[in-house]
């Protein structure tokens, strides 16, 4: 029974390297997210400390996590595209 992709996909020789890169970026972000949760639980008063432009740690860290996700996404895409261009022939992926 066919339950492959809805459209026919080419071979992706870059999949392994992209996966490795994805795992590392995921781990990096998870650590930063985990630290944020840990500060909240362990010492939530620390969230009141003013750290940037009259903003406290909670706001700065929270906005920072959102902005960081966007920046890391762009870096990931840039690296993946580069890896794909190196390893795949035109028309693949």
């Amino acid at each position: 029974m066919d339950h492959g992709p809805a459209v026919k996909l080419g071979v992706d020789h870059a999949a392994k390297r992209k996966t490795r890169l994805g795992i590392w970026m995921f781990i990096s972000y998870t650590i930063l997210y985990g630290v944020f949760v840990a500060i909240g639980v362990a010492n939530y008063e620390a969230m009141k400390i003013i750290v940037f432009a009259d903003l406290n740690l909670a706001v700065t860290y929270g906005f920072g996590l959102i902005v960081l996700a966007i920046i890391m996404g762009l870096i990931y895409n840039w690296r993946c595209t580069k890896i794909e261009n190196e390893m795949n022939k035109e028309g693949e992926v």
């Binding site: 939530y44 909670a58 906005f63 996700a69």
Partner: protein, 624 residues
């Protein structure tokens, strides 16, 4: 709370619905195959798909629920924004491209890609249905919430309207029309949320938030020397608060006693004969005011009455150094009457801008309350990448590269919106627009204070928000029934045409169930409910997805049993927990854990590992 009907809002809403129906008719003629019905033929451009992702994901929970929660409990609401967005990191870095590579129409396809296992087909389809239904509830609750101010109709009517329109959208053109509805809605939501934020900054902060369209009425303060014609009738002590019932002109109101002062509490009273009084009078008399204002404003170290125009960072820094009047809900009985009082509580801005007002992780925290917090943040982080209605959007683009790029567009759009939720929520908290009975209406009511036109647009978009998300959920559910269960699990071998017909019938059935649930769950905060959907999804689906991708020893039995354990444990903890018990049984529940993910995700993961290790010979047979 009494709202005036906005005919402009009705006109805009009808206009939007007509566009949506027109789109559905247009695409219906092109939707003949199962591929076009369930996956839009895999032909959607990545940029369109990215915005549609945002339209799919930014549901009533995000727009109505988060803004409402921030307005009432400050930063704790923003934690949902952070967690929801962080979940996209899991989707982008780990799940996007493999899902595109492995699946065809549904998330079950991807899980089953290596095994062709009946157990996976059944359990993954059931999981899709349960998660989608959990996610549907808050959307439908949000729909009901919106029709009151928008159309002046009852809650259940809104639920039925949304249900009917969405059944039509999905049953006519499936994923193609759903994609474009979500694209339009996602774009409009972000644009007009930005406009609303600009209004907030331009307006600044003011001690008396009168607006052109709405005067602000401060709750009364009486003193022993000046009772303004009120006479004390009775006293009731609840926790540390002393409530005094006062009478004037035959109307009874509740005040809290603080020394010689009596502060008016907003209140609703349900009498023994079923009548509901608002601040002692029938709803129509309009005595139950919108509230929420700054108590002191400190700008650059100086106390001021208003700030004038401020930038986004200054807006937050002023709130951080000022004080806000919040309202805390207290329930008590007055003889045979049930009273809900909302007590004015002056809260320092610095408390509003850290976690702790809703989630007890600071003062008064217990190990259980901290565990609840960690569990919620875990569910939000892990839930996104396991939501079936999000995952199926990876099948609507032509390539893995497009799947990745569309995820990044989604992260940028959704991230920007979530930053705005902070301003919209705090804007509502400080502009005298809060409806104490329903926090979900905070953002639309803020728009109303700034102008009826903006309110009409924002309300119509909020409605569209619900249409877009519900459409996606119903497509996912109909795929689970028609493709996973009927075609694959039951082996009915449907033709392309039959599969599309089965999908349409399934969409109608799920729509009807969603309508019923939306009516039953009236009144619960929509973001809180979505938190549960995330917990169930993270527990039932994510261990299976991640281990399939990253652990070669994963077996079909391991995946199926992990899904079952994830669903049963997550649902079991939710059903026996405090929130469901309070909502339906007026009891405290069997335990205090509201967010199950930390236990249910771990159990599901352990189950997968243990069962897979015990059934390795299945994989060996497959290789042999």
């Amino acid at each position: 709370m009494i709202y005036g009907v906005s005919y402009l809002a009705i006109a805009l809403f009808v206009f939007f619905v007509l566009i949506v129906l027109g789109l559905s008719f247009y695409f219906a003629r092109k939707t003949k195959s199962a591929s076009s019905y369930f996956a839009a033929g895999g032909s959607i451009h990545w940029a369109v798909n990215g915005v549609a992702f945002a339209g799919d994901y930014l549901s009533a929970a995000s727009f109505l629920g988060i803004c409402g929660m921030i307005a009432f409990v400050g930063y704790d609401g923003f934690l949902y924004s952070i967690g929801y967005l962080a979940g996209w990191v899991v989707a982008l870095f780990l799940v996007a491209e493999p899902m595109k590579r492995l699946g065809k129409f549904t998330f079950t396809d991807a899980l089953d890609s290596k095994f062709n296992s009946k157990a996976i087909q059944l359990t993954a389809a059931i999981s899709t249905l349960i998660v989608s239904l959990f996610y549907l509830i808050p959307q439908m609750v949000g729909a009901g919430t919106l029709v009151e101010p928008l159309l002046g109709l009852d809650h259940w009517v809104g639920v039925v309207i949304v249900g009917a329109v969405v059944i039509f959208i999905v049953a006519t053109a499936g994923m193609t029309s759903t994609t474009y509805v979500q694209f339009i809605k996602g774009g409009l939501l972000i644009i007009f949320s930005t406009v609303l934020a600009i209004y907030i900054f331009t307006n600044g902060l003011n001690l008396n938030p009168d607006h052109k369209n709405q005067d602000y009425i401060q709750p009364m303060t009486l003193t022993a020397d000046d009772m303004q014609g009120f006479t004390s009738v009775s006293n009731i002590d609840v926790d540390a608060l002393s409530f005094v019932k006062m009478e004037k002109d035959g109307i009874y109101r509740w005040f809290t006693k603080d020394g010689d002062k009596f502060e008016e509490a907003m209140s609703t009273t349900k009498t023994i004969d079923g009548e509901k009084l608002y601040n002692g009078a029938p709803k129509e008399e309009g005595k139950f005011y919108q509230v929420g204002n700054m108590v002191t404003i400190i700008k650059d170290g100086v106390e001021v009455e208003s700030t004038g125009k401020v930038g986004p960072l200054k807006f937050l820094s002023v709130i951080n150094s000022s004080e806000i009047a919040r309202y805390v809900k207290v329930l008590f009985d007055d003889g045979d009457n049930e009273v809900t009082a909302y007590v004015k509580t002056v809260t320092p801005g610095k408390e509003m801008l850290i976690p702790g007002l809703k989630f007890k992780i600071g003062k008064g925290a217990t190990p259980l309350s901290k565990l609840n917090f960690i569990s919620l943040m875990l569910a939000l982080f892990l839930g996104t990448a396991s939501l079936p209605h999000i995952l199926i959007r990876y099948y609507t683009v032509p390539s893995q590269r497009a799947a990745r790029k569309s995820t990044i567009v989604a992260i940028a759009a959704i991230g920007f919106f979530y930053v705005l939720t902070m301003f919209m929520g705090l804007g509502a908290a400080t502009n005298g627009v809060l409806n104490l009975e329903d926090g979900n209406m905070s953002a639309p009511l803020l728009a109303k204070a700034f102008g009826v036109g903006l309110f009409a647009i924002i309300s119509a978009i909020a409605f569209a928000t619900i249409l877009g998300t519900v459409s996606g959920l119903i497509v996912a559910s109909s795929g689970a029934i028609a493709h996973d269960l009927v075609d694959r699990y039951m082996g009915k071998q449907l033709s392309d045409k039959e599969k599309v017909r089965a999908g349409k019938i399934a969409a109608a059935c799920v729509g009807v169930v969603a309508i019923i649930l939306g009516i039953l769950f009236k009144g619960m905060n929509v973001s809180f409910l979505v938190g549960w959907a995330f917990a169930v999804a993270a527990s039932a689906n994510l261990p299976a997805i991640l281990m399939l991708l990253f652990w070669k020893k994963t077996t079909a039995k391991g995946i199926a049993s992990s899904i079952i354990v994830g669903i049963v444990s997550a649902l079991g903890i939710i059903i026996t927990g405090p929130s469901i018990s309070k909502q339906f049984f007026r009891s405290e529940g069997l335990h205090g854990l509201d967010s199950p993910a930390i236990i249910s995700f771990t159990l599901a993961l352990l189950t997968l590992i243990i069962v897979s290790l015990l059934t390795q010979k299945d994989n060996d047979k497959k290789l042999a």
